[in-house]
């Protein structure tokens, strides 16, 4: 979220009154090392190790030594229709969650930016999903979707909209039902980020535009949106990446079922690695996901730089 303005700030600082005086070079290393060592040991290291594993036949609990097998895992992946199906579902899920999440959060942020009664309540509620463990969010929505004891079907019956259905185990309804939960769970971060952006838009400009007779849609397009764009871009890119990586929600809601209709790539890789013990193959899946995410991250960074040039 801070990414958008981070760069500008850097430029300003360095071109300003000169670098602020800080600790000496050695002192700086001393301060940085405690954080750097665990990071190198437990995140950069494993990441590189994981990439290496993708080129081996590593399996869990095997006695024979692990061998290099080149790109065999990747060529297997290429022909693994189940994986591509899972990948397709993952993209559907990520887009299906990210887009409504953004639109709904933008709407809510715009409302919260207005001087409305009950705003405090909405602000507090908008944060709640953020504080909940993902597992609890999953459990909660299972209760809502429950075919007999769930409130959704009961409400539908009350409204005379039929008998309702078993949302999470229907082939056609499982993915949309899960996507709704994803949208719900991710609303807070997006709303908070967008609200921050809104409060940062110059109020005078808004008033000037209103005096000039610009309607609210026009004011949104010409004043609000340009100021909001960098943050909107940053949070959407992050949301997309987070959603591609999500696991717990769907694990609790459907565990990938029915018939693999909600088997996100993460669930697929998890099963491959920790149910079937195919470490090398699962690592290769991870690599493919990294590649895809990197492309999006690159697009996002390019967009961010361009956004910075506009401003």
């Amino acid at each position: 979220m801070s990414l958008a303005t981070e760069k500008r700030r850097t430029v300003r600082r360095t071109s300003g009154t000169g670098p602020p005086r800080g600790t000496t070079g050695h002192g700086a290393w001393f301060l940085v090392l405690p954080a750097l060592i665990p990071v190198l040991a437990l995140s950069v290291g494993p990441l590189l190790y994981g990439i290496l594993l993708a080129f081996t036949d590593a399996q869990s609990g095997r006695t024979a030594p692990t061998r290099w097998i080149g790109v065999l895992n990747f060529s297997d992946l290429l022909h693994d229709t189940l994986f591509w199906e899972s990948f397709r579902i993952g993209l559907l899920w990520a887009v299906g969650v990210t887009v409504p999440q953004f639109l709904l959060a933008l709407g809510l942020a715009l409302l919260l930016n207005e001087d409305l009664r009950l705003r405090w309540l909405a602000r507090a509620l908008a944060i709640v999903p953020w504080a909940m463990p993902e597992v609890v969010v999953g459990v909660m929505w299972r209760l809502v979707y429950n075919p007999d004891a769930g409130i959704l079907n009961e409400t539908l019956r009350d409204l005379g909209l039929g008998d309702g259905r078993d949302w999470l185990s229907g082939l056609a309804t499982a993915l949309p039902a899960v996507i709704v939960v994803g949208v719900w769970a991710g609303m807070p971060q997006t709303t908070v980020a967008l609200l921050a952006g809104l409060q940062n838009t110059p109020r005078e400009l808004h008033e000037a535009a209103a005096v000039d007779g610009a309607g609210s849609w026009r004011r949104f397009r010409t004043v609000t949106w340009p100021a909001l764009r960098p943050i909107a871009l940053a949070i959407t890119a992050l949301n997309f990446i987070w959603n591609l990586n999500s696991f717990a929600l769907v694990y609790v809601l459907t565990n990938g079922g029915p018939g693999g209709r909600t088997r996100l790539p993460m669930l697929f890789a998890y099963e491959e690695a920790f149910r079937y013990g195919q470490f090398g193959y699962a690592a290769a899946m991870g690599c493919v996901m990294v590649a895809v995410i990197s492309v999006f991250l690159a697009l996002f960074l390019v967009g961010r730089i361009r956004g910075g040039d506009d401003a």
């Binding site: 005086r21 954080a35 750097l36 990071v39 944060i127 597992v135 409130i151 696991f247």
Partner: protein, 280 residues
């Protein structure tokens, strides 16, 4: 759903939309509460009601009987407190350097903060699993704490850098002119001003670790060592059939600590993120 705010009829539409949001955000949680306090007979009824007719605590009792909830809560507490304290202790000095100095290192660190958000956990978890297994730290809460520390560091750094920037350099310079040494300045000028930010960051790290599921699922196998989110999933049978009442009760209890902490630091957390997101 939100409509464009038409200038005049605006207010009514705005309130309708706000009401829609309130319902959408609140109803799942209210339903969880409702189920948690319902007796088994009402849960089996074909026409569930919002308000339990005969509210009961039986579900809570049953939840504690069925699963080692207290033990799991204790494990979660150790993991979350450990992760929060260590992550903040490690991140604060680094954040200070990143905020105050524009070195290549600081820039690389900021880059890593961004990239770490994109880590697919699959790629990291398999090697981590193997490494921790060799260190005999698999299936142990300390091993999980190590993972959580690294996992919480990027966000902790991000928030702390924002808080450090909010402490004016001029104050430190003034102290230096008054003859305070480097360490003295840090301890008696910077640290007190930074304290609320450090607490907020720590609490945020606590909540993320308390809520975390994936690493805990993979790394902890013995039931006595598992954390709350993992134990919660045991309420759901292999066939996907769950005993709804106890499940809801346990889920509600597991959420309480994060809700309380979040309520305390909510303002600060959003403030901290804004510190990074908004031009000062």
């Amino acid at each position: 759903m939100r409509t464009r705010p038409a200038a005049r009829a605006g207010r009514a539409a705005q309130y309708t939309a706000l009401l829609g949001y309130l319902v959408f955000l609140a109803f799942p949680f209210l339903w969880l509460l409702s189920v948690a306090f319902k007796p088994a007979r009402e849960l089996g009824s074909l026409h569930p009601t919002w308000i339990p007719e005969h509210p009961t605590l039986a579900n809570f009792r049953q939840a504690f009987d069925e699963q080692p909830l207290l033990h799991a809560a204790f494990n979660s507490l150790i993991a979350a407190v450990g992760a929060a304290v260590i992550a903040v202790a490690l991140a604060t000095p680094m954040a200070y350097v990143m905020a105050r100095r524009r070195t290549r290192l600081a820039r690389a660190a900021s880059g890593w903060v961004v990239v770490s958000q994109a880590f697919p956990f699959v790629l990291v978890i398999i090697p981590l699993f193997l490494v921790l297994k060799n260190l005999r730290l698999i299936d142990s809460v300390p091993g999980l704490v190590m993972v959580y520390v690294v996992w919480a560091l990027p966000f902790a750094l991000w928030m702390l850098v924002g808080y450090v920037r909010a402490v004016p350099v001029e104050l430190e310079e003034a102290a230096a002119i008054d003859g305070a040494g480097r360490l003295r300045t840090l301890v008696s000028v910077t640290a007190p001003l930074l304290a609320p930010g450090i607490v907020a960051t720590g609490l945020f790290a606590f909540v993320t670790a308390w809520n975390e599921f994936f690493f805990a699922l993979v790394l902890l196998k013995t039931p006595e060592k598992q954390t709350l989110p993992v134990v919660l999933t045991h309420f759901i049978g292999t066939e996907g059939v769950a005993d709804l009442g106890p499940l809801a009760a346990a889920a509600f209890l597991a959420t309480l600590p994060s809700l309380v902490v979040f309520a305390i630091v909510q303002r600060r957390i959003t403030g901290g993120m804004l510190a990074g997101a908004v031009k000062s």
